[in-house]
Structures are given as structure tokens and as C-alpha cells.
């Protein structure tokens, strides 16, 4: 089963190497990995997707937390978080099928970001599942190059409005 770990690390040289090295030397596989600075320049967020059972996940999390540069780890349950991924794909699109490809891009609300003589480069962001589906549908046309970013995720927000706000809403209605 896939688990997503959102890991806040100190923004220092070599931190990614420490994280990646830990996974390889403890025999854990990384399924996908995305790294970027957070709004606080002292820290970066590494979003790691791993494919392990829950006891292995506990061990990974504990070992990760031992790294001096790791500040915070949060496991994001797919049901309790929003996940997004970005994909870029160059697909064969000769004139006879080009309109079909364009339609497919429109249905998925993707964008055509580059147009060549008989190829198109399209971008799509969305849930990993949506990108999987899009990839499946593009494949028959001939995928020339394909690149996904790895997923990023944040926890879902509390839908229950605080009491004070609810009172205001009730007055308005």
C-alpha cells in the first residue's frame, strides 16, 4: 500500500542525500519523491511516497526522524489529504489524429504547452489517478516523452466551521 510522508527538513546542503541514503541503506524503496522550499526559507518539504506495510512504515518514519536535519514528519492518509502531481508529455499527433488528442486534452482540462510539426507537448496537473488515466488514453497515439513530478500533498482541511463563524452564517441565511 502506498503511504505519503510529508517531511520538513532543514534547508541545508546534503539533506536530500541523507534522506535518500537512509532509504537505500535500510532497504526501503522510494516510489516517488518531490522536494521544494517551504514558505519559511530555513526549511524544505520533501514529499515521499513509499510502498510498504504499516510496520515497515513505522520503522522508516522513526529512522527518518533520527536524521538531525529532519524537523517534522507527517504521514498523509490518502483519504485525508489532497494530492497533486504535474505531468508533461510529448505525444505523436500527426494531422489525422491531432484533433482527437486535442479533444482528450480538453476533456481532462490539460493544456497544450508546445506544438510541433507532428507532435504536441501537453501538461496536466491533478490527482495521481487522473494522470494515470490520461497516460493510458494517450499511449495509443504514441508517447514520445513522458515526465511526472512525483506527488505533493497537504492534509485536508477541517470542514466544520468554528462556532463563531457558524453563527454569522446562520444570521445571513
Amino acid at each position: 500500500m502506498h503511504h505519503t510522508l510529508s517531511v520538513v527538513v532543514e534547508n541545508k546542503a546534503g539533506v536530500l542525500s541523507r534522506v535518500a541514503g537512509l532509504f537505500s541503506r535500510r532497504g526501503f524503496n522510494i516510489y516517488s519523491l518531490a522536494v521544494a522550499p517551504t514558505d519559511d526559507e530555513r526549511f524544505s518539504r520533501i514529499t515521499i511516497v513509499v510502498d510498504v506495510d504499516s510496520s515497515r512504515l513505522e520503522q522508516i518514519t522513526k529512522q527518518l526522524f533520527k536524521l538531525v536535519n529532519v524537523v517534522k514528519i507527517r504521514e498523509l492518509d490518502p483519504a485525508e489529504s489532497v494530492e497533486r502531481e504535474l505531468m508533461l508529455c510529448t505525444v505523436a499527433a500527426a494531422t489525422d489524429v491531432r484533433s482527437q488528442v486535442i479533444q482528450l486534452v480538453q476533456v481532462f482540462e490539460g493544456r497544450i504547452v508546445n506544438v510541433g510539426h507532428d507532435q504536441l507537448t501537453v501538461s496536466l496537473d491533478g490527482t495521481p489517478r487522473k494522470i494515470d488515466d490520461f497516460e493510458d488514453l494517450l499511449r495509443p497515439y504514441g508517447i514520445v516523452e513522458f515526465q511526472r513530478t512525483g506527488r505533493v500533498a497537504l492534509p485536508k482541511l477541517d470542514r466544520q466551521a468554528p462556532a463563531r463563524l457558524r453563527a454569522v452564517q446562520e444570521r445571513v441565511s
Partner: protein
């Protein structure tokens, strides 16, 4: 005050209270060696950087203070990777400072350049590549803090040559700011109460004491807990001495070559109280068959150890000493409130039966046979004071030393447990003697181990560090020979060394030591007595031992601890 980066390193070490460092200079570390001349810190010049690392470890083992090693870039740094890994496996506090090529040429394959922080990343608790001399005091402060707190371990600071020659404004930070490093030292009160309840309801409990007891300076607390609850204690290879061997409740070493009573009592226990131990494969044997009926209380300062191998029923993250002290209080308050432990006298007599039936034993040599290695250890043990520090290499001699010595005080046993580093004994003994100069230090070593690092005898002779070395010379890589005999149909492959090549007596003499040779049982005691009389130089004794002798008991690799083999002459039905 302006200092060079190099001066700042040495001054920072002084601020940390370092009294000795072990090292060997070279190109990239040259700037750091200049201020050493003016520093009160003693520097021990080794003959190989591996020696520096093991000396730092031996010093840390014996004193509890972090060992410090100083090496140059490239080969200097790679030579100390083994000791770093050894210290990492055995949780030994150690600070290694390595020289590096100038910052600007890193990545160009410069002379004696290697990716030291990359290479040592997986064998250190943390490491740093310093890019600015201004960062040096803060980095050194962090390094000592990380090495000595939480689960102790080795750290490394890589200092490029231009960083050590550039100027910085001196300061000394009073605190460290490490947002990602906050070890938990206090156990969870609810878990401690739960543990106390479990201890008082168990019928067949065993305390499984590991090296964490020693790292946490928790030997006294352990004794209090054991005596209060009247529970037997096994001390792992890393914990020998953490509980006195002459104590009625001590069962000695568990594991592959452990005491029958220690191994079997764990197997039959209904509760294991694991204190600073990590369920190493050499202790558990086949995991599925290990202590099948036991509930587990597991105390460790490293949260990742809890559930790594065996899922505990009561996990407690915290410093062993603090947790055990709390546990003693919790047990006391339950006892005060009228809770009583079940009658354990039947269990006690079963354990005693195992102890009586299967003590460590060997058959005395027939006339004309060589020495039995066990005899050598018995004589050594009985001819040295109780507080003697015994430092061992790795292999058969290590197991016999652990089995036959009586460790009645903490920090009297120094060895390489997790990594199993042959060649550990001589340099680690030198480091231990530097740290505790007023106590006798015996290195007990195999002939294979001895040859790996014995050049450090020169270091010790030059520096007047009078250790004693007993070589158990059976002319073989003995443990490997034992496995080839037992599991490879006596097909001996590449294990024969030779009893007299090298000539160990001449070797000792060439390195400024007194060399003695013992070939027959009656020569053992006079040689040991002579060695004990010499206190102004090193003594090396070449004990010619019987290569056919095997270490027993033994749990074969991958076998269950239930299938422990006692020596052939002890084999009889268990009562």
C-alpha cells in the same frame, strides 16, 4: 579576537574539555597541527588512522567521555571509516575531525580528495562539511552535543584547508540550536506504570540488559531494580560488567555463545525486560523461535529500536537510567500498596538447575597437549585486580574472554560487538589506558586480530602507555575455522596462519615491548606474574593455544535458541 579556523578548532576542543586526541597529520590537516603545539590537549601520534579511531573508542568506552580523532583528507579519512562504523554500531561517543582539500577545489579530484562526508554519512550519527571558518565553534559545539546525548555515536567534521587558514571572529556558543534533534530522555509515566504492573504479575521474568545500560551510566539503577524485584539479569556482550557476575541474580551472557542458563531462561521467560538492548540476531537466534511466550517491556533512548525486531508490549522511549529509576519508584509504590509478585521460587530453582548443569566448562588438556585457551583466561582473571580493564578483539578469544572473565564492575570490558572489528583490541586498549592510566589494562587478542593493528604497539611504547597484551595464538582464524569444521565438513579454507610466523616475541621486542612466550600449562602463571610486575613498558605474551578447541555453548546461525549445543562432554538429558 581573531583566530584562524585551525586555531578555532583547537580552541573549541579545549572549550569542550578535551584532554587527549589521537591522530596522524597530513597535507590537508596541516594547519590544525600547528596550534596543537601550543595547546594543553595531549596528542597521541598513531601509526595508522584506524588505530586513532579505535583508540578514541577505547578511551570513550573506559571513561564515558567522547573520544577525539584527528585525520587528514583522502586516505586518512577512509582509514578511519571502520572505527566510525564500529562506534556507530556500538553507540560510542566519538568526534572525528578530518582535513579536506580547499573548499574551492572540492569536486575536482584534487590530490588526496575524497567525499568524506558522503562516505561517512551512513556510519556517523551526523557529519558536517564546514564551508566558513566562522561556523567552526558552533559546529564543534553541535558535534559534541550530538555525539554524547540521546543514543551516543560518532560524528565527523570535515574541515577544508582554506577554511582552517582563514580568519574568524572567536566566540563560544553557550547553547545549540538543533530544531530536528531533541532526544526523549524521560519515559512516559503511563508506560512505566504499565511496566511495573507487568513486572509484578510475571512468573518467569528475565532482565535483558544491553549496552545502553553502560552508555546511560545506569548500572546502579539496574542493580536496584533487579534486587527490588528479585529478577535474574542477563548481560549481553555489550553489557558485560553492567551487572556484577558474582551477583546471585546474574546469569551472564546470552546469545550464540552465551551461557546455557542465560539463553534458556530467556527462551522460557514469560516476560523480558529489555533495557538498552536491541534484540540483535546474535542474541535472538532464529527470530520466530525467540522467547516465544514472553511479553516484552522494551526501554531504549532510540525510538527506532522499539519494534524494529521484536514488537514490545510495553515500549518506553527514554534514557535507561532515568527510566529504570522511575520504574523502581513505580514498583515500590505498587508493593507499598499491597501488590505482591507471584511466588517465583519454582522458576528460581529451574534457573539454578540450568546453571548447575551447564556451567561454562572445558576438558583439561591431556599431557603434552597445548594450552586450552580457557585456562589462559582463568589464570589471567585470577591474577589481575577486580577493576582491570579487559579489551578484546573479535572471534573465539572474545567469546572465551566474555565467558570466563568475571566482570564485577561496569566499564571493565571493552570490545567490538556490533561490527565485529578484528584488530580492535590493541588500539582500543591503548585508548582505554590513556583514559584510565591508574588501572591495569589487558588487551586479549587472537593472532589474526593482533596482526591487523599491532603496529600501534610502537605508538604505545613511544607515548609510554603501558598496556599488556595476551595473544591467544592458535595459528588460525579460529572462529572461521570452527565454522568450517562444523558447517563445511572440516574443509579448512584460508584459515591457517602459522604459530611462529611472525615471531611474536621478536615482534614485541622490535616495538619496544617485553615479549614472552608460553607453550605449556605450567608456564602460564609465571609469565602472567612476570607481566604484572612490569609497569614501565608494554608486555606481549604469546600463548600457544590448542587450535582444535571450539567455543561452546553454541547456537548455530539461523537455528533457534532452543537448539543450543553444549560441549560434547556435557551432553546429557536435561532435568
Amino acid at each position: 579576537m581573531q583566530l584562524t579556523g585551525a586555531q578555532a578548532v583547537i580552541k573549541s576542543l579545549e572549550m569542550e574539555g578535551v584532554e587527549v586526541m589521537f591522530g596522524l597529520p597530513g597535507g590537508a590537516i596541516l594547519p590544525l597541527y600547528d596550534p596543537i603545539i601550543d595547546s594543553p590537549i595531549r596528542h597521541v601520534l598513531v601509526r595508522h588512522e584506524q588505530g586513532a579511531g579505535h583508540m578514541a573508542e577505547g578511551y570513550a568506552h573506559a571513561t564515558g567521555r567522547p573520544g577525539v580523532a584527528l585525520v587528514t583528507s583522502g586516505p586518512g579519512a577512509t582509514n578511519i571509516v571502520t572505527p566510525l562504523c564500529d562506534a556507530y554500531m556500538d553507540s560510542i561517543p566519538m568526534v572525528c575531525i578530518s582535513g579536506q582539500v580547499p573548499y574551492g577545489v572540492i569536486g575536482t579530484d584534487a590530490f588526496q580528495e575524497c567525499d568524506t562526508t558522503g562516505i561517512t554519512m551512513s556510519v556517523t550519527k551526523h557529519n558536517w562539511l564546514v564551508s566558513d571558518a566562522q561556523d567552526i565553534p558552533r559546529t564543534v559545539k553541535e558535534a559534541f552535543h550530538i555525539a554524547t546525548t540521546g543514543r551516543p555515536g560518532p560524528v565527523l567534521i570535515d574541515v577544508p584547508k582554506d577554511v582552517s587558514t582563514s580568519l574568524m571572529d572567536w566566540y563560544w556558543p553557550e547553547t545549540v540550536d538543533l530544531p530536528g534533534y531533541k532526544p526523549t530522555t524521560r519515559g512516559h509515566p503511563k508506560m512505566i506504570r504499565e511496566a511495573a504492573r507487568l513486572i509484578l504479575s510475571s512468573r518467569k521474568p528475565v532482565i535483558y540488559a544491553g549496552g545502553g545500560i553502560l552508555r546511560a551510566r545506569a548500572a546502579e539503577a539496574l542493580r536496584e531494580l533487579a534486587e527490588l524485584t528479585d529478577i535474574h539479569v542477563v548481560t549481553t556482550l555489550m553489557a558485560r560488567g553492567a551487572f556484577p557476575d558474582d551477583h546471585d541474580l546474574c546469569l551472564g551472557m546470552p546469545g550464540m555463545h552465551g551461557n546455557y542458563a542465560a539463553v534458556t531462561s530467556m527462551q522460557k521467560a514469560d516476560l523480558l525486560i529489555a533495557l538498552g538492548a536491541r534484540f540483535d540476531d546474535r542474541v535472538t537466534g532464529q527470530l520466530a523461535g525467540f522467547a516465544p511466550d514472553a511479553k516484552v517491556i522494551h526501554v531504549d533512548i532510540d525510538p527506532a529500536e522499539l519494534g524494529k525486531v521484536r514488537r514490545p508490549d510495553v515500549p518506553i522511549v527514554g534514557d535507561c537510567r532515568l527510566v529504570i529509576e522511575e520504574l523502581v519508584r513505580a514498583v515500590r509504590s505498587l508493593l507499598d500498596s499491597g501488590v505482591q509478585a507471584p511466588d517465583r521460587s519454582a522458576w528460581g530453582s529451574v534457573v539454578r538447575g540450568w546453571q548447575d548443569s551447564y556451567p561454562f566448562a572445558y576438558e583439561p588438556p591431556a599431557d603434552g597437549d597445548g594450552l586450552k585457551p580457557q585456562m589462559v583466561f582463568e589464570h589471567l582473571r585470577d591474577s589481575t585486580p577486580d577493576d582491570t580493564i579487559v579489551v578484546s578483539g573479535v572471534g573465539q578469544h572474545q567469546m572465551w574472554a566474555s565467558q570466563y572473565w568475571k566482570f564485577n564492575h561496569p566499564y571493565t570490558w571493552v570490545n567490538s560487538g556490533g561490527l565485529g572489528t578484528m584488530g580492535f583490541a590493541v588500539p582500543a586498549a591503548i585508548g582505554a589506558k590513556v583514559g584510565v592510566p591508574d588501572r591495569p589494562v589487558w588487551a586479549v587478542d587472537g593472532d589474526g586480530c593482533f596482526q591487523m593493528t599491532a603496529q600501534e604497539l610502537v605508538t604505545a611504547s613511544m607515548e609510554r602507555i603501558p598496556i599488556k597484551v595476551a595473544i591467544l595464538n592458535n595459528a588460525y582464524l579460529g572462529m572461521v575455522r570452527q565454522w568450517q569444521e562444523m558447517f563445511y565438513d572440516e574443509r579448512y579454507s584460508q584459515v591457517y596462519l602459522s604459530p611462529d610466523l611472525p615471531d611474536y616475541v621478536k615482534w614485541a621486542e622490535a616495538m619496544g615491548c617485553v615479549g614472552l612466550r608460553v607453550e605449556s600449562p605450567e608456564e602460564i602463571q609465571p609469565a602472567i606474574d612476570k607481566a604484572n610486575e612490569i609497569d614501565d613498558c608494554l608486555v606481549v605474551i604469546d600463548f600457544r593455544t590448542d587450535a582444535r578447541e571450539k567455543v561452546y555453548p553454541m547456537v548455530s546461525s539461523g537455528a533457534s535458541n532452543d537448539d543450543i549445543q553444549v560441549p560434547p562432554f556435557q551432553q546429557r538429558p536435561v532435568h
